[in-house]
């Protein structure tokens, strides 16, 4: 049995630097991440927060900032009481040049058994990263209606 985690791989026609910029700047994240801002100074050990439409959804701490290869932070969903009771999880982005492309691997790990957020993040990341890929390749992020994700409470 695999330990509970979520892994998503996508290939993007861009450079590692541009992808890094998109993963770490609110100017970009607002466009592909359901109007989410990244609140942090990106220093290892600094606080980190995701703020969607002005509401803080997730908080954590910067763990790694190895530009433009590896980025990680802890991730603690704070919108529901049940999620707040769980221990923080960990988000890791790996960026690897692959010919003229970049292979992006997201690993979201260290969930408690029976985590209440695993289903939601498993539905959220494909939408966010699909939109990120579109933004970098075509210049236009995707307008995905939140209700299409099928996440309870996100519509």
């Amino acid at each position: 049995m695999r330990k509970p985690e979520f892994v998503y791989v996508t290939y993007i026609e861009t450079t590692a630097e541009k992808l890094w910029e998109a993963l770490t700047s609110s100017e970009f994240s607002r466009r592909y991440w359901f109007n989410t801002e990244l609140k942090t100074d990106w220093k290892v050990g600094s606080p980190f927060a995701l703020v969607m439409d002005g509401t803080t959804t997730d908080v954590g701490e910067v763990l790694e900032f190895d530009r433009p290869r590896r980025l990680s932070y802890t991730f603690h969903h704070v919108l529901s009481e049940a999620a707040r009771k769980e221990r923080p999880t960990r988000v890791v982005f790996n960026l690897e040049p692959h010919g003229k492309l970049v292979k992006l691997t997201l690993t979201h790990e260290d969930f408690e058994d029976g985590s209440v957020i695993l289903d939601g993040i498993s539905k959220g990341w494909p939408a966010i990263l699909s939109s990120l890929k579109s933004m970098l390749e075509s210049g236009t992020a995707l307008a995905i209606p939140p209700s299409a994700l099928g996440i309870e409470g996100f519509a």
Binding site: Y11, I12, G99, L101, S130, S134, I144, P145, A148
Partner: protein, 170 residues
């Protein structure tokens, strides 16, 4: 074929700025698939029981199967068996389902690879590596007109596991 006892082993979802009809066409025609699937041509007779084949650039059959579910342009399920001697005998049939759903002005495409028995992570590493590459390229093709060139070899751990099971690979 009864597919009730198959369980999903790999699920991959990708959102594409396109229409369900165009995604369906990309998944089911040789012309499109050659562009995003490393030169491989998908040939499928779109009716229940119809033949499903993936032909390599040299014309040889790489994957063969049959259509199990076919609801254009929403859902396609096929058996998806790589033509390596002893593979079906040892691993059983592989089932692949494509679900296509409108999501606002874009399309949500979900790939599900299912099996009728437990399959090791070593064997599944092939699909876990391959599907994101194929579907990332399909998305690029439909959105920008250009598929991606993604060179890759089968994972060593999969080849080693197949060899150990007595399954011969080229």
């Amino acid at each position: 074929m009864n597919i009730d006892h198959f369980k999903p082993a790999i699920v991959y979802t990708i959102y594409i700025a396109s229409t369900p009809e165009k995604v369906w066409e990309a998944l089911t025609t040789a012309e499109f698939s050659r562009k995003y699937f490393s030169g491989n041509a998908v040939e499928v007779d779109l009716k229940i029981g119809g033949a499903f084949v993936v032909r390599q650039p040299d014309g040889s059959v790489h994957i063969s199967g049959e259509v199990i579910e076919c609801v254009s342009p929403r859902r396609l399920t096929v058996t998806f068996n790589v033509n390596w001697p002893a593979l079906i005998e040892k691993l059983g049939p592989t089932l692949v389902t494509y679900e296509i759903e409108p999501a606002g002005d874009v399309v949500k495409l979900t790939l599900i690879q299912s099996h009728d028995r437990p399959i090791s992570d070593d064997i599944l590493s092939g699909g876990r590596q391959g599907w994101p590459a194929i579907l990332s390229s399909l998305k690029s093709l439909l959105e920008t007109g250009n598929a991606l060139v993604i060179k890759m070899e089968p994972p060593h751990r999969m080849l080693a596991a197949l060899k150990q099971m007595g399954i011969t690979t080229p």
